[in-house]
């Protein structure tokens, strides 16, 4: 039973079967699946680290572009603070506009990261391994950008600390009945939880980076890796902590977007006051989030030459996931629409009439982006594995979901109980600048982040690869997986 150690090679040196047919099968498996294409960890480390230090001209051009846009955003924000919110297109009926839509949107794209990482981890989905960190990073920066928006949005930013439960001599506390306060708590919790979750998984990679770098980088990585040595006990604790955090973060994730939806549904504004908003927003967030992760995967794979890590199978899996979310989103959207339509309340009808009337171009573009294109294409594996196609679909879903949020926030507000006070909303330059600038800011953060932090969780990849085994069953080679708990 016990074989001599000498006969067990390293896991990346799988013996090639003598049988030519079987050998072809194994070869095919390696080409198709990252988990079967095991390579020495050192090689993977190099693969990961190599592009981290590369900053070609295109990188700098992109960085300068995104930086300029970020600067424009900060300038617009500064002007807005000094001159007042009057420079926006908000009016006496529509007091919330794209800033709140942006809050929802950015939290939304931050949703998928944790879901992919934590939920798929618990479900032991191996396709998450190389993309988990790329997704988590979106969560981190998406949330950070989202958290900017309540700050950008308020009229008196210098009094924002009134919203925080800080002990004070007047014993004035925030209003715990306000959905905005719940939302703020949920976002903060989620941001802290996600950061922690991400950081824990980063420790071995920081250690790996520490061991492969010199100078100040080594010092920084050394500090960040918290003295990781890779002992059995450390791996074990990492496993336990990751699992616990995975369990904890998932309910928080659901609470965050439910909380965001409550900002709207707790109000008595027609078009907002809907019980379905909680799950609807969670699904919507996952939808735009998964699409965002696909976009990031494509960009990272292209620009950092991570073709080895991100393969067709990953895009295929994410595509299927996206298709499921498309269907779920359609279900919720029309559940809401039909309830309003069937309810036949004058104001809800007025909102629907506005969507299909003056706002029809926006509305139908939204339906095209969110329903027609994903539903019409994602069933095909060829589309799912085609990077250009997936890129376009991802962009369209971002546009569609963004329009949806703006329509819900600013569109609904333009119709209220007394028709004398209906005012349509038109965005002015600050909203446009801030929105695009924040997107650029997200990209900027992401770009810089990829040059300092291993965007591929290498240890997860070789953990997965190490657990793969090929067995021969009859004439076939079957990949199996070992899990030790």
């Amino acid at each position: 039973m016990l074989e001599s150690r000498a006969t067990v090679g390293p896991y990346w040196e799988k013996p090639v079967p003598d049988d030519e047919h079987l050998a072809q099968q194994v070869e095919h498996g390696r080409e198709q699946h990252l988990m079967l294409d095991a390579r020495p960890p050192a090689e993977l480390n190099q693969l990961t680290l190599a592009t981290m230090r590369q900053t070609g001209p295109r990188f700098w051009i992109a960085l300068a572009g995104l930086g300029a846009m970020t600067l424009a955003f900060l300038t617009a924000w500064a002007i807005q603070i000094f001159s007042g919110l009057g420079i926006t297109g908000l009016n006496r009926s529509v007091m919330w506009g794209p800033y709140i839509a942006n809050l929802i949107y950015f939290i939304g794209i931050g949703h998928a990261g944790t879901f992919i990482s934590a939920a798929l981890r618990l479900m032991r989905m191996d396709f998450r391994r190389p993309i988990a960190r790329a997704a988590e990073t979106i969560t981190l920066f998406g949330l950070a950008c989202a958290a900017l928006f309540p700050i950008i949005h308020v009229g008196r930013i210098w009094k924002l600390f009134y919203m925080m439960p800080i002990p004070n001599q007047r014993e004035l506390w925030p209003n715990f009945r306000s959905a905005l306060f719940w939302d703020m708590m949920a976002i903060t919790t989620y941001l802290i939880g996600s950061t922690l979750f991400m950081f824990v998984a980063l420790i071995p990679d920081f250690a790996m980076a520490r061991d492969h770098t010199t100078g100040w980088r080594r010092k920084v990585y050394g500090a960040l890796s918290l003295g990781w040595r890779g002992t059995d006990g450390e791996w074990h604790r990492l496993e336990v902590v990751s699992n616990i955090l995975s369990f904890v973060i998932i309910p928080v994730m659901f609470s965050v977007h439910t909380g965001v939806s409550w900002n709207l549904s707790m109000a008595i504004q027609p078009g907002w006051h809907s019980a379905i908003f909680g799950p609807f927003f969670v699904v919507g967030a996952l939808y735009s989030g998964v699409a965002a992760v696909i976009l990031v995967m494509i960009i990272v794979r292209k620009t950092m030459r991570y073709g080895y890590f991100m393969r067709e199978e990953h895009f295929n899996a994410m595509g299927i996931f996206l298709l499921i979310l498309t269907l779920s989103w359609i279900y919720f959207y029309f559940a809401e629409w039909i309830t309003n339509w069937y309810g036949n309340l004058p104001l809800e009808k007025a909102i629907q009439a506005m969507l299909t009337g003056p706002l029809a171009p926006m509305f139908y573009l939204m339906l095209f982006c969110n329903i027609v294109v994903p539903l019409g294409t994602l069933w095909s594996r060829r589309v799912r594995t085609s990077l250009p196609a997936m890129f376009i679909i991802g962009i369209l879903i971002q546009i569609g979901m963004y329009i949806e949020r703006v329509l819900i926030v600013a569109g609904s507000l333009s119709r209220n109980e007394l028709p004398f006070n209906w005012v349509n909303y038109t965005p002015h330059w600050p909203e446009v600048t801030v929105t695009l600038g924040t997107l650029a800011f997200l990209g900027l953060l992401y770009m810089v982040f990829t040059r300092f932090v291993p965007i591929i969780p290498v240890w997860e990849v070789y953990e997965g690869q190490a657990m793969q085994e090929s067995r021969r069953v009859g004439r076939a080679v079957v990949s199996t997986r070992t899990e030790v708990h």
Binding site: L90, N175, L413
Partner: protein, 240 residues
């Protein structure tokens, strides 16, 4: 949370739609009393006209049988106000003394949540710093704050007049009399379409008028329990 009868006052306004001529006297009186800045032409076009009390005009029918109906709308001082629970900083809160909805300007951070949640859209946001060309600032009422940019504001039932009146009565050691406290709008209204008083004082004019069969509350179905009662306009037919 709905309010319950307490030892305070229940300030109430009655708007007799039969008498409102839409003449805007109340609007200008309110601007004068409460230091409400005037919106410029561009601001009005952008849908930001700033009046604590506005006279909504609804057309009914078509020429030649067309009617114009005036509806003065201002903060309804809801007993169950939708704006109160949504404010994260308690800038919009309910006074248990006066039983009106109070906006604390210096507490407001400007989330504008209350504005969205007001079905009457009577809450206004200070999009800009208020501007009074010199020396127009001389006209400002020293009893009322000029609101800084970025805060919400709304009709207060002229709380400064309520306070002054109550303090005066206190100093003189007597109970408040009905009609002693009158907000600027009701004070100005030529036709007496606005009547103000304490509904919990059963001898007040307001308390006696509220049970009118013409009475209704605006958007009553929302359960906001407004402290403003409207009296429906009537019509005399030729030959009656």
């Amino acid at each position: 949370m709905a309010e319950e009868r307490n030892n305070g006052h229940k300030w109430t306004m009655i708007v007799d739609l039969d008498k409102c001529t839409g003449c805007q006297a109340c609007v200008v009186a309110c601007h004068a009393e409460n230091n409400v800045p005037i919106s410029s032409e561009d601001e009005v076009i952008r849908g930001r006209a700033n009046h604590w009390i506005r006279i909504e005009r609804y057309w009914e029918g078509e020429y030649p049988n067309v009617k114009a109906r005036f509806l003065p709308v201002f903060c309804q001082q809801c007993g169950n106000a939708p704006c109160e629970p949504v404010c994260p900083v308690y800038a919009s809160y309910h006074s248990t003394e006066e039983n009106v909805n109070i906006q604390v300007y210096n507490r407001c951070v400007g989330t504008r949540y209350c504005g969205n949640n007001c079905p009457y859209r009577t809450r206004l946001f200070n999009f800009w710093a208020p501007r009074f060309d010199e020396p127009l600032e001389q006209q400002l009422n020293p009893d009322v704050t000029v609101r800084s940019p970025g805060v919400m504001e709304k009709c207060t039932f002229c709380i400064q007049r309520i306070r002054r009146g109550r303090e005066q009565a206190n100093i003189e050691g007597r109970p408040l009399e009905d009609g002693e406290i009158v907000p600027a709008c009701a004070q100005a209204c030529p036709t007496d379409a606005l009547i103000f008083g304490d509904k919990w004082n059963e001898h007040s004019r307001v308390a006696q008028m509220v049970p009118s069969e013409r009475q209704f509350k605006l958007l009553e179905n929302l359960g906001t329990e407004p402290a403003v009662y409207y009296l429906k306009g009537g019509e005399t037919h030729v030959g009656e």
